[in-house]
């Protein structure tokens, strides 16, 4: 298990209490799960993602990640329409373990309200929350 100091938390994304992240990429937002989440889940062997065009509210379940032992839900950091999914995860779900904040991204979202991004936690706030979980 990674120590908090070993968890990789980039500055250029925003975080949710459910351990997803969102990154602004031009007109869309890239969505994934955090290094903390993948470390807790262990080996990810399957990622179930929605179809492009599907619409979700903020906080709604949009898919699952499956480890050898368990199936866990994924929740939308922001509301909007799925613009694209990371098709590489179909053959290489382990990218979520090895590169959760980069190649292991899950989908791109056309946000219905881009200001929701500003309400997500920044790195410092998310790290504070993780420290609280440890206690």
């Amino acid at each position: 298990m990674k120590e908090l100091s070993e968890i990789n938390l980039p500055e250029d994304v925003r975080y949710t209490k459910d351990h997803e992240w969102a990154r602004k990429k031009g007109e869309t937002f890239q969505i994934g799960i955090t290094d903390f989440a993948q470390d807790q889940l262990g080996d990810i062997v399957f990622v179930e993602l929605p179809e492009p065009g599907d619409r979700f509210e903020s906080g709604e379940e949009f898919g699952t990640v499956e480890s050898v032992k368990a199936v866990s839900e994924l929740f939308m950091p922001m509301g909007g329409e799925v613009a694209a999914i990371n098709e590489a995860l179909e053959d290489a779900p382990e990218l979520v373990n090895t590169a959760p904040h980069t190649e292991g991204w899950m989908l791109e979202l056309k946000a219905s309200d881009p200001s929701e991004y500003d309400q997500l936690m920044d790195r410092a706030a998310y790290l504070d929350m993780l420290k609280g979980l440890e206690e």
Binding site: D43, V45, A70
Partner: protein, 423 residues
């Protein structure tokens, strides 16, 4: 209540284990990767801390009578195809039942000597099983001692396990002679009866048993609580030469499910211990439905109303999460899911399941992993029945099977496992 820990707890945390509560103990779930650990047991070896398990010593002139009444297997008729009596140096699997035929716990009974048996049960169950045996002791001359906390236990499982132990043991050739499946030698040490001597090269006494709970070739190793850390480190160091990995409970769970072995209090529990894939745990007379002895709970097993338990395999690695219901092809709910995990060492190849350990697997066969486990249904089902397992999120198609992971090595003769591996 603070979680219990094994003597190896700080080793686990220092080696980056993900810890979780199991049976009241804070135990490693996995170290680096549960998948790699599962696969290591099929290809090399895996080393498990199983010191959370409990044991009860039953000794005295009436020890056999007490176990014959409380344990499901028939100690007078359990060894080999001829059903020979249990003898010192041999162990047998079974369960302790209530009068209702429900499972108090499953166990392996090791016969240490005439009138002395080591009864190994699950984590946290030592006191309950000891109390249960004590209650049925009546006036008979037999003592029951809960050994919880007095011993350490680790399992070395996988095709390289004998190579690892050869490097660890003093006089390995003598120890390995005549060591079939479910045989054991040595003892835990102290004043407890032993079956000859098994020692490490530094002289630490061990009880070494050809058992385990992965379905693969290997050993369970018992030693005293104050020597287990040293034995673990010695075996880990030897194992490193053979590709062995420390393994957590996640790999143990997926390995045992693929090997069609039940998890106590999950796949067996508060319902009659019958109509399941473990008839060898019951004292059936060969080829009949009759029992060769009477025992606590036996009449309750003759009911027509007990549910039926079957192993299943899915189409791919995707799982449901219990609580989940079992539906037949018409959509009718017929039961529930007991265990559902992914065995990452197996996959469909044409119309059959192969494992990475299958000798006839085609060159470059890389299994994608398959969902597997046990379902409990109201009425009997034929083999190959198609079912839908449904949790709150999804449904998956599975089929009833006789076996899950093929080509397991648990029963392979030990000398065969010491032959040099082909390049």
């Amino acid at each position: 209540m603070a979680p219990l820990t094994t003597p190896l707890h700080s080793w686990h945390t220092q080696h980056g284990a993900h810890m979780a509560l199991f049976g009241g103990y804070d135990m490693p779930l996995w170290y680096g990767s549960a998948k790699d650990e599962h696969l290591a047991v099929l290809t090399h070896a895996g080393i498990f801390d199983t010191s959370h398990m409990a044991a009860v010593l039953v000794d005295g002139p009436a020890a056999e009578d007490l176990l014959q009444f409380c344990f499901t297997n028939d100690l007078a008729a359990c060894l080999g195809p001829d059903k020979a009596p249990l003898r010192p140096g041999r162990a047998v699997y079974g369960a302790f039942l209530t009068a209702e035929g429900h499972v108090l716990d499953d166990a392996i009974v090791f016969m240490l000597a005439a009138e002395a048996y080591l009864v190994v049960v699950n984590a946290g169950m030592g006191q309950r099983v000891a109390a249960h045996l004590d209650r049925h002791r009546e006036q008979h001359d037999v003592q029951v001692h809960d050994l919880s906390g007095q011993f350490g236990k680790m399992d070395v499982q996988g095709p390289m396990a004998a190579h690892v132990m050869r490097d660890v043991l003093a006089d390995p050739d003598a120890v390995f002679e005549a060591m079939p499946y479910f045989a054991f030698k040595g003892g835990i040490g102290g004043t407890m009866p032993a079956c000859g001597h098994v020692r490490t090269r530094d002289g630490t006494p061990l009880l070494l048993s050809r058992t385990g709970y992965t379905g693969e070739f290997g050993f369970e190793i018992f030693t005293s609580a104050d020597t287990i850390v040293g034995v673990w480190e010695t075996i880990m160091a030897a194992g490193a030469h053979y590709g062995a990995l420390p393994c957590g409970l996640a790999a143990r769970d997926s390995l045992r499910a693929g090997a069609v072995l039940p998890l106590s209090h999950q796949d067996i529990g508060d319902w009659p211990f019958c109509n399941h894939p473990w008839p060898f745990a019951l004292p059936y007379k060969f080829g009949t439905g009759d029992f060769s002895k009477t025992f606590l709970g036996d009449t309750a097993l003759k009911t027509d109303r007990a549910p039926h338990t079957y192993p299943f395999i899915g189409e791919n690695l995707r799982k449901v999460t219990p609580p989940a219901e079992v539906r037949d092809t018409t959509g009718r709910v017929i039961g529930d899911v007991l265990t559902c995990v992914t065995d990452m060492a197996i996959g469909w190849h044409e119309d059959r399941v192969l494992s990475i350990g299958s000798p006839d697997a085609p060159q470059g066969f890389t299994p994608g992993g398959l969902c597997c486990g046990f379902v409990r249904v109201a009425n009997p089902l034929p083999l190959d029945s198609r079912l839908l397992l449904k949790d709150q999120r999804r449904g998956i198609d599975v089929r009833i099977v006789a076996d899950i992971r093929p080509d397991r090595t648990a029963r392979k003769p030990l000398p065969m496992m010491l032959q040099p591996k082909e390049a």
